[in-house]
């Protein structure tokens, strides 16, 4: 085989060396989640001696992780529902219209990629205060879809453009209304696009940190896992076993989804970046 040659040796070593650097944290977190501080300090990369779930149960107690996981799930699922509820009809309309208004709106959404939203943290905080939703996860359910709108609409519009107009005409002959056309023709055909939007936003929503920190704040009844995690670090002595166990728990859903839907997810993330 021409691929495997001696001159490639440095490339193999470098590529797999970097891959090892990516794997070390995964291993370190998994192993440390079953150790106590002493074992973590004395042999950071050693195998754990027991598989006791103590750290996991303590992470649930100390960090209030049970609540936090529920909140994360609520915010993520709620945010995804609002995103699809807004983006599906919008891209349906933009894909079918040729009018000037539609062109202007599509342009507005694609310019959204250029808006550096990180900078708007403080004004967003004021908006949350003004709407009376400050310190609630509800505001995040409303805010996150807005951040997802440019990518979702642009991506879905491109998928909806591939729907052959004959299908809609046939359905219209049978007396189908506009929303029925969206539901029974456009949505099923755009399924790969919808899957990409859901996966991309699942990652973004589940992992969101800075906005949640400002908007939701420290209330254990409202905060998400990403907010609960750093609270386990303390200047007076961090219990690394508990910290790593909690980290493993927050990574679990993402890894499961990624492993099951690996090809789809890579395709989704790549298409997300390409549409910039």
């Amino acid at each position: 085989m021409k691929r495997i040659r001696l001159s490639w040796l440095p490339a193999h070593v470098l590529a797999w060396g970097y891959a090892a650097l990516l794997l070390i944290p995964v291993y370190y977190f998994l192993a440390s989640a079953f150790k106590d501080n002493g074992a973590i300090f004395s042999s950071p990369l050693g195998l754990p001696t027991s598989l006791s779930p103590d750290n996991f149960t303590r992470a649930f107690d100390l960090g209030g992780l049970g609540n936090a996981v529920t909140n994360s799930a609520l915010v993520t699922v709620g945010g995804l529902a609002v995103t699809l509820f807004l983006a599906l009809p919008a891209s349906f309309a933009l894909a079918r219209s040729t009018g000037r208004a539609a062109r202007v709106m599509e342009r507005a959404f694609s310019l959204g990629f250029l808006v550096p939203t990180f900078a708007a943290l403080f004004p967003t905080f004021l908006l949350a205060a003004a709407t009376g939703l400050f310190h609630t996860r509800t505001f995040m359910v409303l805010l996150l879809p807005a951040t997802a709108m440019p990518l979702s609409v642009v991506l879905l519009t491109q998928f909806m453009r591939t729907v052959p107009p004959e299908l809609e005409e046939a359905a219209r002959m049978d007396g189908a209304g506009t929303l029925a056309v969206l539901r029974h023709i456009y949505a099923p055909i755009s399924m790969p696009g919808i899957a990409a939007v859901v996966l991309l936003n699942f990652l973004n929503f589940w992992n969101e940190y800075l906005y949640s920190l400002i908007i939701i704040g420290p209330d254990p009844d409202q905060r998400t896992t990403q907010l609960a995690l750093p609270t386990l670090v303390s200047t007076s002595g961090t219990d690394y076993g508990v910290l790593t166990a909690a980290t493993v728990l927050t990574l679990l859903p993402v890894y499961v989804v990624y492993t099951v839907l690996q090809r789809r997810m890579q395709a989704a993330l790549v298409s997300g970046a390409v549409k910039m």
Binding site: A90, S97, A102, M105, A120, F122, T178, V233, M276
Partner: protein
């Protein structure tokens, strides 16, 4: 725009264009009166987007022109005073230098390594599927989780010092995150570590669509992989490389606030403070709102300028 009940309007307009009439533009064919009438379906999404995203961004410019020494304090118009205060403040310049250092190191290292790694993966060497799976790991891990790993690795009793001691290099052990000589570089290391893999997967996907024949032709001409990588494949995906660079530029510039916040809080002193962290710190920790948003305006302008520059630098020259 009509808000008549959409479901009821269907029967009155039969299919406007017989298939024979549908000539040149396919889009024109489907743009019947019905389609125009449903454009309003895009309005809720647009309104949502304007309220939660565009509005706050515009508000940055307004707040930057106010004297606003704290949430409950009265606001007065300040004109350009905040910008003057910012420009006279050595802390701002320190953060500015740190941001430039961060970009100047992280961006080239990340992008060159990512491109080479992507080229390697795109050649489909043994195990490339596993490699692709692994390279994606940083794209999955949330910012707090990444920071927790670096925190655990770099703390005094952490992984790095532990390994150094095991290797008999204990004298090199440091308090990495609290040492003014290394704190900023720890942040940069996090950027690079996380950035390479994700960008490599993006670029590898693009390289995958470059025809194999191009690479084979190059090899027949006697071009080694090094030349094939830089003078044959790179020009083809130059545009895409530019987009990926732009993405990483924005993430590094704006995202550093979270890394700094979680790892060093800008310390020791202001040794690892960056512009985006300064915006956060002044607004939420020191309640100097006009100052914070004036820095936000600088950050915004820097982001736009950098994006245009990168776009220009990597524009496809046919």
């Amino acid at each position: 725009m009509s808000t008549a009940p959409v479901l009821g309007t269907a029967p009155q307009s039969p299919a406007p264009s017989p298939p024979a009439a549908r000539g040149g533009r396919a889009a024109g064919a489907r743009g019947g009166r019905r389609a125009q009438g449903s454009t309003w379906l895009a309005v809720p999404a647009l309104v949502w987007y304007v309220i939660f995203m565009v509005g706050p961004v515009l508000a940055i410019f307004v707040i930057a022109s106010l004297h606003w020494p704290g949430m409950l304090q009265p606001r007065t118009f300040a004109g350009l005073d905040n910008y003057r205060t910012v420009l006279d403040d050595p802390v701002f310049w320190q953060a500015f230098r740190n941001t430039l250092t961060q970009l100047a190191i992280a961006l080239p290292v990340m992008m060159v390594c990512a491109y080479m790694l992507a080229y390697y993966v795109a050649q489909r060497p043994p195990g490339h599927r596993v490699l692709r799976y692994l390279l994606f790991i940083p794209g999955l891990i949330s910012t707090p989780a990444k920071a927790m790993f670096f925190y655990a690795a770099l703390s005094p009793d952490g992984l790095v010092n532990g390994v150094l001691r095991d290797l008999g290099l204990g004298s090199l052990a440091k308090v990495w995150l609290a040492d003014s000589g290394t704190a900023l570089y720890a942040i940069i290391a996090l950027d690079i570590w996380a950035g390479i893999g994700f960008t490599a997967v993006l670029i590898a996907a693009r390289l995958g669509s470059v025809s194999d024949e191009i690479g084979e032709a190059a090899q027949l001409d006697g071009a080694g992989h090094w030349r094939s990588m830089w003078s044959i494949h790179f020009p083809i995906i130059r545009d895409y490389f530019g987009v990926a660079t732009m993405l990483q530029f924005l993430w590094t510039l704006f995202g550093s606030a979270q890394h700094v916040l979680l790892l060093t809080q800008g310390g020791p002193g202001n040794a690892s403070s960056t512009l985006s962290f300064l915006v956060y710190q002044r607004a939420f920790l020191q309640a100097d709102l006009g100052y914070s948003q004036a820095v936000g305006v600088f950050l915004f302008v820097l982001g736009l300028a950098g994006m245009l520059l990168i776009r220009r630098a990597f524009r496809q020259n046919h």
